[in-house]
Symmetry: D2
Subunit: 262 residues, 4 copies
């Protein structure tokens, strides 16, 4: 099996500034994820954080990344628009994206969805049951009927997303809500998986089944083909079928709008 | 039948600066569309253009618009980001959007899709046959097997869009390409229809079947329900099920991230 | 507004043979539904049951039906295959179908879905909360955040259906399960809405919000266009583009496979 | 890479009874496909035909098949319903299915789709251009912009199928039609790919790009997880959450409808 180059990006704010979070993830969420995914020999892991050069989203790093895992919460606004532009382009070009938990509110996720990405939420240490509604899907391989999380943050419907291309998990919450907690989309040549469990106050990324879901998602999101989508002018004499151009034109021979039209 | 308030927005550039276009649409594309749609008594029509106050996208105008028809080509970059923000929000809140032809490259469409929206194109006056692949869909009511356009601009696949929620038309081009020319999406509470025929050099909006498609699309896109999606904090004592909050918290009682966490 | 011809079909078995059910629906589920929908003046209502001629699915009745509401549970196997054939054909031709509750296990629903339609279930009088996850959809018009049912039968995931074309409701159950309880599909020219609440032991169809959902679904499912899909041979001289037939052929001029090929 | 067990099933009628077909596929379509796929070492290939025991669809053969490739045209009606039942069940349980060309009209495909599967057709040796509209999809790996077939049977829209879960190819025909020629669905745990090129009179399966598409489709359709979907009764004392059953019941403790209810 060929290798998959995975970068785990974490804003790494709460772990450094909040004691309760630091107790759960002393080395940061990125490091627990990198450590556990590192047990799979076909994955080549790197980590990056907001305080790295280029906010951890350098051209070089992205160019060497097949699948990006993204965790953010407190510092979404600090991510530069230029980084978001690069990230969106990389996803459209084929890079896989595993967006975790509060990443639903990141600039990148909202950019790729085009919708509000709003939801209901509550932080009460309640029980969440993540139902596997798609037992034949690659992302649920090795996952049983459901994953039970003793303590979780409630994320509830309606969730302001486009209809997922594939629906994988739906969560039940003790307080009475439901949530589409595992959702797949393709955008451009890139595959996106959003997985909601992962509030930083609870040891959710220590849960072996949660780790397995993320591993499965990385394999699922790994690009097969890549293509950069750009507008492409096809002159009449390059048409697949023989064609003679007729009538007036607003574009020149290279397909650019003619000057003087503005 | 209750009324539908329709605004036809047109950047209105090529009709004023290019003689060939002016011959086809002397009063502008917005006016031909408003005139023909005006024959349907349940539609209340307004027009707006880029040179209007607020670029034709004022809060007031949008607040009084159920369905927006949008045509642009040469001046996409001139539309202010603030206007795009307002437009996107209105669509997510439930306003219908009928995006025409080169509007595929507008800031608004790219924002709502989250993808490149790139395509192949060629301006050679070639024949296009717009196949009705969804005869049971409301947007194809009264449309036969296909619409034949004697002269059209080629728009070809791959088209950089998310998979449409409903596929309505696929076009055949004389030069050998195909194109998904009629596509439906829901984003937030808003319905979006993209219809590709409509190059400004050819009298496509004079074609009765094209006019019928746009009328059908307006009815389809008209909002039934509306809702503004915002994050909603549900405190533990307001949970649908009886719930006692447990453990530490990063949010205050109103659901805001606590200070000192950054 | 033009009229919609609605037929409420009910197998009408449990109401006649079980006292507990008879107390909730003394005149049968079909009659409570017909009575409440009858309050909407644009709906023209008929009822039919399994003990009617042609099992309540006569050609004449179906020919005069725009939308069929279907309830069955104990007698799915008794519905004749010929009736299922007629029903499937009518749906593909454009008749709307509102499939209720245990109708998920009817021959008709399984035929239209192509999948197992299996689910988890439990009859314990537990609480169900039907979340509106699609506030902009016509079927949720007038429905708030959720419908709460004090007593319901649990239907749980995984539900063996194709991915819905539109997702409208997801249910939470007191016992810990979730369920996609309101799902839309288009098949041929027909629109199908499956709505799971409605166990015959509980007064669910007396609930005004449930009645409203069914009314909304009838309006949504009402056909705009209709078309019977049959294979269509297009001889070379009837092709849209000028075409000269080349090479050998397995079909005769009418498009039938030539004799001697078997 | 682990092996994939592939069975190529062909009705094998026209190759034995029609000289023109026999010239193109002297050993039958199944053998050319098995031979070319056999070049990929991870594929373990078997072939089967209608004249085999159990019509080539024995329990044993299917139990040892990860992905089934299916070609049929003249003898769809001869396939026994019992075989179709087994096949459908196997697909829902996770077996991949690559349905080729005129297999669109097989009992199996119609069963899995639930729709008419009707289309337009014409046998005139015309040019087909199969456009790759999804360059990032695993099925288009190694395929360029399009595959050009010098001679093909026209299959045209509207095609009576459910909206594909993923759209991969759309074809252009010389005679003026278009067709969704490469379509993906998931049904149960099984993945289905329909690929329309392949009329038996033309050497389409000798085309390297067509062979590559079929190879890619086999890899894509290979099951990761499997699950047989059956109704599952969850008694109140086995509910995930603590639950006390209330009220009357129509089912016994095993979840069967109580006798006397009919």
């Amino acid at each position: 099996m060929s290798s998959i180059r995975v970068t785990v990006w974490n804003e790494f704010v709460h772990e450094r500034h909040n004691e309760a979070v630091a107790r759960v993830y002393p080395a940061g969420i990125h490091n627990i994820l990198a450590a556990t995914l590192g047990n799979y020999s076909e994955l080549l892991l790197k980590t990056a954080t907001l305080s790295d050069p280029d906010q951890g989203f350098s051209e070089d790093l992205l160019a060497g990344t097949d699948v990006l895992i993204y965790w953010g919460h407190a510092a979404h606004d600090q991510v530069a628009d230029a980084a978001v532009n690069r990230l969106q382009q990389r996803v459209l070009d084929g890079m896989g994206l595993v967006m975790l938990h509060s990443g639903h509110w990141s600039k990148l996720f909202k950019r790729l969805m085009g919708t509000s990405c709003a939801l209901r939420y509550r932080e009460a240490g309640e029980r969440e049951r993540v139902w596997n509604i798609n037992p034949g899907h690659p992302i649920t391989e090795g996952i049983g009927d459901y994953i039970e999380l003793a303590e979780s943050e409630m994320y509830g419907e309606p969730f302001g997303i486009p209809l997922p291309d594939e629906q994988v998990f739906i969560s039940w919450f003790q307080g009475g809500e439901v949530f589409r907690s595992g959702n797949c989309w393709q955008r451009g040549s890139g595959r996106i998986f959003y997985f909601s469990p992962g509030h930083e106050l609870y040891p959710i990324y220590h849960h072996p089944q949660v780790q397995r879901v993320i591993y499965n998602a990385v394999k699922w999101a790994c690009p097969r083909s890549r293509r950069t989508e750009v507008p492409l002018h096809i002159p009449a004499d390059k048409a697949p079928e023989k064609l003679e151009a007729r009538g007036p034109a607003l574009h020149d021979a290279q397909g650019k709008l003619l000057p003087g039209n503005l």
